[in-house]
């Protein structure tokens, strides 16, 4: 008989408990929404750097909330106080929740002590986007850079985060790198903690 043995259905999707929600969203729905976000911001600004800043600010708000959510869902509710701890948290947990897989690589910058890079062969947000030549070095990955900045800022590691295209030999599309530059106080605190 229809309806026998049904699990409890919530009448309103907003009533579902937070930690048991469905973890997936359709890619095309997100791609449409993101393209609309970029187009909307494009009509409001005069130049490229302003557009990048707006996308980053949008990502920052997402990052702050993602941090709260993940800290609650993660087992044990541990806090991250070390630099490597928070970086591997961003690199694996945040990426897994947002994009369904861990980031491709996490590297420490060679020129400066305070620089770290998260690389991805192709950012999910950039999958259906191609940048026209006259926009220069603009990268919609600024949205993801904003998310990372939001997470780091909320956790107490202020940083400047930017997204760059890195051309790779033998590959048609350039790799995307998120460059994280930590503030002075983070390095001082890290040195003090030993």
């Amino acid at each position: 008989m229809i309806g026998v043995g049904k699990v409890k259905q919530y009448s309103n999707v907003l009533d579902k408990p937070l930690s048991k929600g469905k973890q997936e969203v359709s890619l095309s729905a997100f791609a449409f929404l993101f393209s609309e976000l970029v187009q909307y911001n494009q009509t409001q600004v005069d130049n490229i750097s302003e557009l990048e800043r707006r996308l980053e600010d949008a990502g920052y708000a997402v990052g702050a909330r993602v941090l709260e959510l993940l800290c609650h869902r993660e087992k044990g509710n541990r806090k991250e106080t070390r630099l490597l701890g928070i970086l591997s948290f961003v690199h694996s947990t945040v990426w897994k929740v947002l994009f369904g897989k861990v980031a491709d690589s996490l590297e420490k910058g060679t020129e400066h002590e305070d620089e770290y890079m998260i690389s991805e062969k192709e950012l999910l947000v950039n999958r259906f986007i191609s940048i026209p030549k006259d926009m220069g070095t603009f990268n919609c990955g600024a949205f993801v850079a904003g998310i990372v900045r939001g997470v780091l800022d909320g956790a107490g590691f202020p940083a400047v985060v930017t997204a760059h295209f890195v051309p790779m030999d033998g590959q048609q599309r350039p790799r995307t790198t998120i460059l994280i530059k930590f503030a002075e106080e983070v390095l001082r605190r890290e040195a003090r903690l030993g």
Partner: protein
């Protein structure tokens, strides 16, 4: 009996203070919450060197006053939850459970895109959920 719960932001600005007893002066409870922030700071800045307590979120009993007990909980974003209770024999597990549900309600309230981080939490749903959690806390520890 829970006297009051409070959410304090990471710059020690109050985001949400709610008292649940009509008898006591709200101002006195605010003062107790404010003093407990000092204890939280002290715990955070001088961590006990044993490993697991270094990054625990639940801070435990902060300090007992004449007829209240104050419990603290610190999240990863330096947001503090303070619980002031008049019960004399609260079980540790009960308080942890309370903070876990409180944290879930807080995450829901903050995920609201119209909520500005750093401003007071004005969501009515959050207030309702908190009062539900407070009511069920009283029942579970009485049994």
């Amino acid at each position: 009996m829970i006297a009051c719960v409070a959410v304090i932001g990471h710059q020690n600005n109050p985001l949400y203070i709610q008292s649940f007893t009509e008898a006591d002066d709200a101002l006195k409870l605010h003062h107790i919450v404010h003093c407990s922030l000092d204890v939280v700071e002290e715990r955070v800045n001088n961590p006990k060197k044993s490993g697991p307590t270094l990054n625990e979120t639940f801070l435990g009993l902060l300090y007992p006053t004449e007829n209240y007990k104050v419990y603290g909980y610190l999240t990863n974003t330096k947001v503090k939850f303070i619980l002031v209770t008049t019960d004399l024999d609260v079980r540790d597990a009960d308080v942890r459970n309370f903070f876990r549900r409180f944290h879930a309600a807080y995450v829901d309230a903050v995920s609201n895109p119209f909520h500005v981080p750093g401003k007071k939490i004005t969501s009515k749903t959050f207030a309702e959920r908190v009062s539900n959690i407070v009511k069920s806390f009283g029942l579970s520890s009485a049994g």
